[in-house]
Symmetry: C2
Subunit: 295 residues, 2 copies
């Protein structure tokens, strides 16, 4: 199958599963369901769960078993975007070409919808841990995701981002911020899927290296797109990093050097997949696709 | 041991464990740790984890095994208070006699500290699930807590609360709101502790009934204290429900009738403990203590 077709197929599997996770009801809290669905079903690349499914296929694992964990990561990612967009945080009005959650549902409900999605991620994983065996692998996978999302992972990255606003930080802090804010939740779906599929320590180590570099590449590309991209294609305002006085790869290294680093870390990501041979072709194409993306 | 001494002993065990869960560091995200600790270590009654420990002692279980789950519930409770106090939500300036989290750390960090505590609750439980055996009981206990905290539990209750502001709701919605908003997270530590201790279905059923009524009693008492209590003893403003145009037991049933219901559900809670004999004495005293509390 062609890369693009496979990518779409994975995204379809993810969207279908996510769709079943939040079913509308008519109770007083109906609005909560709407607000959660609004952001969760807003599309997006589904990069994180797609990574899990691709790793699973590469290692010959069961997609059914990996899917709940893959989608839990997407829920965590979505909640973080809702909270990140709030007026008290980045105060963004648009996301993926649509008004942000709080612009549609108000701040209070947006906060609760975010909380609900974070909580739901763990509900889904725990429900899955207690049924159909393989309890140990599943618990370990969920623990990896939990740690990556928390105060020593993504949330720490958010805080560094927040506290770096309005000042230029050095490349050490910039790297730490990106490794935590974006990298942790790109690494988690890769590593957790490998654990779920029973990968050995060496495979996990190589996939960890792949994901570490892919996450970094993803963030650098984001920083570049915020300078060079098109608002229309991005579905959000270009130049918002500059407006928010954020330190980015572009402000720290300059545009040309950032592109060099991007190309370099993408190569490192691809190199880490060597031992998997042609089975890793999809992941290689994905790295290239992310390098060239326009949104 | 006297009830009050035992209560203090339980609270000490909880406080000591919680204290070890968030250790300060000197990284850029230090402020996140401070903000999380500020609310988590602000004292309070520790009612939820105390319930877990008391159920554990009553059933002859291991406190060490129950403690992480008990404290996870307290983290979830604390995060919900931080988010509930935000300007976009209840906009409260004081909590437990101290400025609320966002008054000290700002809104952005308060949102992230709440997110961090919710996430930490699951990190702690999952860490615990993957070590030292009893994986099945632990996973089930964590799943119970997750469900109680989520979109079909506490968060749903928050949404009903939010959407009921400024209008008088009927007693059906009021009961649903309280069962979800407060009740779910009072039942969860009781039921999860019983599961962790290997209680049989009948014991769990009785404890569920106890907790259901205790949770309701707790909320009715809260509503009464908001009218009759003292700001000094409560550590927060009295009359804030009326200021926020909230429907409460007092606005729906009136003060006297609310007191009758309170006494009635407290009795129901105590009655549900009958089969446990004198081993349930602490839980009985706790129900009475909550009935008579002034904060």
């Amino acid at each position: 199958m062609e890369f693009k077709q496979q990518l779409e197929k994975y995204a379809d599997i993810v969207n279908e599963y996510l769709d079943r996770c939040i079913v509308q009801n008519e109770l007083p809290e109906k609005s909560l369901y709407s607000a959660m669905r609004y952001s969760l079903m807003a599309g997006g690349k589904r990069l994180r769960p797609v990574l899990s499914l691709a790793v699973c296929d590469m290692l010959g694992g069961s997609v059914e078993q990996v899917l709940p964990f893959a989608c839990a990561v997407e829920m965590i990612h979505t909640y973080s975007l809702i909270h990140d967009d709030l007026p008290a945080m980045d105060n963004d009005d648009f996301r993926r070409g649509r008004p942000t959650n709080h612009k549609v549902y108000g701040e209070a409900l947006a906060i609760l919808a975010g909380d609900g999605l974070l909580n739901l991620a763990f509900e889904i994983m725990l429900e899955n841990i207690i049924k159909n065996g393989d309890m140990e692998r599943k618990s370990k996978a969920a623990a990896v995701i939990a740690k990556a999302a928390g105060m020593n992972g993504m949330i720490a990255g958010q805080v560094i981002d927040l506290e770096s606003e309005g000042k230029q930080v050095d490349n050490e802090i910039l790297n730490r911020m990106h490794r935590l804010k974006t990298g942790a939740l790109i690494k988690a779906p890769v590593v957790s899927a490998a654990i779920l599929c029973g990968a050995d320590a060496d495979d996990i180590q190589k996939l960890d290296e792949f994901a570490e570099n892919l996450g970094l590449a993803f963030q650098i590309k984001d920083d570049i797109l915020d300078v060079e991209g098109s608002s229309e294609k991005l579905g959000k305002k270009v130049g918002s990093d500059a407006d928010n006085n954020k330190s980015t790869y572009v402000t720290v290294y300059g545009l040309e050097k950032s592109k060099e680093i991007l190309s370099d870390v993408t190569k490192k990501a691809v190199d880490a997949l060597e031992k998997f041979g042609e089975k890793a072709d999809f992941l290689r194409s994905l790295a290239k696709y992310l390098l060239e993306r326009e949104n």
